[in-house]
């Protein structure tokens, strides 16, 4: 009890044992897990490898961190990773509720819990946060800054996603470079930065291709792979992520060549229009099996990132960082004015030939819930489709049991969609 639990070590070790297991069990799926090795292993080994470890939030361009040869640790990636382990996530959630309201987003509760409990043993060298994605994060990041007591750089994210906003971000990213130069004692190595931007572009191009594959009927890729789209927030520019999407693309292409979908009998093309259900990801597999309902695209991981147009243009790259940040997963829909969110919903519906719409609404995300009726009405008007509104907690599995969620989806599928369970 008294020994300090090292969460990052635990996550890194879990990936290792998972990889060992997969090597024996199904080596063809190994690639899905190797990316997690890059994610957690790099963080755990940062100091051993002589690199600076930097806690970051969304909209902090990972490319810039990589260009300084530092390791970013996206705080929000921890809650989504822990969501499938209620015994751990609930520990941090309960811990956090001493300080924050129980209605706070569970992602942020876990952030507070992991940092304040001391389980993030390895102290970071710096903390860089932005004022995105939402009120929850805005409320806790400064508190985390206070708690950590490490050099911190804070970036104000603009409300609207327009040129003024990109410029505003670009100016601050330039200051962030100065901050990183002071932190590392090194000037920004533009050659290295260009390399990273190149990897970032390649990855984004592949992500776009992968997304395009998903537009096919039947969808050549399974629902589950959508979960990892969020890795972009932390890892874009990392070769590990590039490799992950290369593999994903290969799988998709090979399914297409064989003329099959990822799910043998695709009957329904489903979208989830708010958060991902990390706490109950198995629901996606169950929907595929039970109804032939495949999650084709979701509004959280939806990917349509702009590229670095010219990595050699030292002014423009910062504007592009701004554009990319505001078009990244979660940020593109969940942050800023609702109109942009509604446009994104429309794009998902339109581009992916969706015929079942579900607002799987994370209860902590109150402002997207406050747009739920607009989402529902937009879909009804334009696509003449109903939308299931279901409250769930994306990171706290205790909110609704798997059985309850299945019950709700079944009822909807069978009574409104008219689906019959596949025996």
């Amino acid at each position: 009890m008294s020994e300090q639990f090292d969460l990052i070590k635990y996550l890194s070790d879990s990936v290792d044992s998972l990889l060992d297991y997969m090597k024996k069990k199904s080596p063809e799926r190994l690639w899905m897990f190797e990316v997690q090795k890059s994610q957690w292993g790099d963080i755990y080994n940062a100091h051993k490898d002589g690199k600076k470890l930097i806690y970051v939030s969304a909209c902090v361009p990972p490319e810039l961190i990589f260009a300084f040869d530092c390791v970013p640790c996206l705080l929000d990636a921890i809650p989504t990773r822990l969501a499938s382990q209620p015994e751990l996530s609930s520990k941090y959630i309960d811990f956090a509720e001493q300080f924050v309201p129980p209605t706070m987003c569970a992602i942020d509760k876990v952030d507070v819990g992991t940092v304040f409990s001391g389980d993030m043993v390895e102290k970071p060298d710096a903390f860089i946060y932005t004022t995105y994605p939402c009120d929850n994060s805005r409320a806790i990041y400064p508190a985390i800054e206070k708690k950590l007591g490490v050099p911190t750089f804070a970036i104000d994210a603009p409300f609207r996603k327009d040129d003024r906003g990109y410029r505003y971000l670009a100016d601050q990213y330039k200051d962030m470079v100065v901050f990183l130069e002071e932190l590392t004692g090194k000037k920004l190595d533009w050659d290295r930065f260009e390399e990273v931007m190149d990897i970032s572009n390649q990855t984004n191009i592949l992500m776009d291709k992968v997304s395009t594959l998903r537009k096919r009927v039947p969808c050549p890729l399974p629902s589950r792979l959508l979960i990892l789209n969020e890795l972009q927030l932390q890892m874009i520019g990392h070769p590990g992520l590039l490799k992950f999407f290369e593999n994903q693309y290969k799988v998709g292409m090979s399914n297409i060549e064989n003329g099959i979908g990822a799910v043998p009998d695709e009957k329904y093309r489903v979208t989830w229009l708010q958060n991902m259900l990390w706490s109950n990801a198995g629901i996606m597999d169950w929907m595929e099996k039970k109804y032939g309902a495949v999650l084709i695209m979701d509004a959280f991981g939806y990917q349509k990132a702009p590229l670095f147009e010219d990595p050699k243009d030292r002014e423009r790259v910062f504007m592009d960082c701004g554009r990319k940040a505001l078009a990244s997963p979660m940020i593109h829909g969940a942050s800023g004015p609702a109109e942009i969110y509604l446009d994104l919903v429309d794009q998902v519906m339109d581009e992916y030939s969706i015929n079942v719409a579900m607002f799987v609404g994370h209860v902590g995300c109150k402002h997207t819930w406050a747009a739920a009726k607009m989402v529902k009405d937009t879909i009804a008007e334009k696509y003449d489709l109903p939308t299931l509104l279901m409250d769930i907690d994306a990171c706290d599995a205790r909110y609704k049991s798997t059985e309850e969620i299945k019950e709700i989806i079944s009822e909807y599928m069978e009574s409104v969609v008219g689906a019959k369970p596949i025996q």
Binding site: D94, E97, Q98, R398, S401
Partner: protein
């Protein structure tokens, strides 16, 4: 339609007690506290700062009558009558309905004061679980409240919920705690302790064939978790004590202790009277502050 004949498993036992060590109260400063809770009412009488007599009865539909019943029951066999009581403090949720009270004080203040008397001046953290609310109180060595926190909006996880479960499962409420401790391993807590949903969930567990002790353990655990959250939010410092009816429920108490890693102080007295006792103590303070010599009985007496 009426269900009058049904056994009422939720009912607490009524009782009355008189201090055998105080043969006669005459010549003493006699004060009283009456605590009208949503489910039970207690009256405590003190003579010169010593616990003299008390009663605990069910709160009826008419609070003023309950107050009168409680004080009369407490006075039984003491030779006291209402005019003999120098000062009375009404407390609890129905405190404004104590017709013979000289002053009303909230149960939060009274419980802290009462706990200080029952458990000693070392008590810093106090948990009071009432019929429809739950309070985490922090107090100083004189029994004065320094901070407190109460459940909001929803009465999930309070005494009333326990009563509903007792009735549903036909288990006398006094036995729930003991039975719930008969499990070898702690089950998952019920996911909702909203009074109505918990009823559904408990029913579901029974239908799924869970043994009674496991169902009760699951429910008690959920309640304990909720209470511990409240305590943690208010801050925990030793010594720790529990007052109110729930202090008698070992199933809840033991679980709270395990979760906090702190043992609650035990007492020979009745923890349910803490509120009324605190009232009587506050009454004594008030008189003493006014100066007992020129103290005048200026009681507003309302016809019960």
């Amino acid at each position: 339609m009426s269900k009058a004949s049904e056994t009422e498993y939720w009912r607490w036992a009524e009782h009355q007690w008189k201090n055998p060590d105080i043969p006669d109260w005459q010549g003493s400063l006699v004060t009283a506290g009456v605590d009208i809770g949503s489910t039970s009412t207690q009256a405590v009488i003190m003579a010169d700062g010593k616990l003299y007599a008390y009663s605990s009865i069910r709160t009826g539909a008419d609070s003023p009558n309950s107050a009168i019943d409680a004080i009369n029951t407490a006075m039984e066999g003491t030779g006291l009558s209402l005019p003999d009581i120098d000062y009375t403090v009404g407390t609890g949720y129905g405190r404004v309905n104590v017709p013979f009270a000289d002053k009303t004080v909230t149960e939060i203040t009274c419980h802290a004061r009462g706990a200080n008397f029952i458990y000693g001046s070392g008590v810093r953290t106090l948990l009071d679980m009432g019929g429809q609310d739950c309070k985490a109180i922090h107090c100083d060595e004189t029994g004065k409240v320094t901070s407190f926190m109460m459940n909001d909006k929803c009465a999930a996880g309070t005494g009333r919920g326990m009563e509903v479960i007792a009735n549903l499962l036909s288990v006398p409420i006094g036995e729930i705690g003991e039975i719930s401790l008969r499990v070898e391993e702690e089950p998952e807590p019920v996911s909702s302790i909203c009074v109505i949903f918990a009823k559904t969930e408990v029913t579901r567990l029974m239908r799924a064939g869970w043994p009674l002790e496991k169902v009760l353990a699951s429910y008690c655990r959920a309640m304990a978790i909720r209470v511990v959250r409240l305590l943690e939010r208010n801050g925990i410092e030793k010594d720790f004590a529990i007052t109110g009816g729930i202090a008698k429920n070992a199933g809840i108490v033991r679980r709270i202790e395990n979760m906090l890693g702190i043992e609650a102080l035990k007492t020979e007295s009745d923890p349910q009277i803490a509120g009324a006792l605190g009232g009587a103590l506050v009454a004594k303070d008030l008189i003493e502050k006014k100066g007992s010599q020129n103290f005048q009985k200026d009681r507003r007496r309302v016809n019960g």
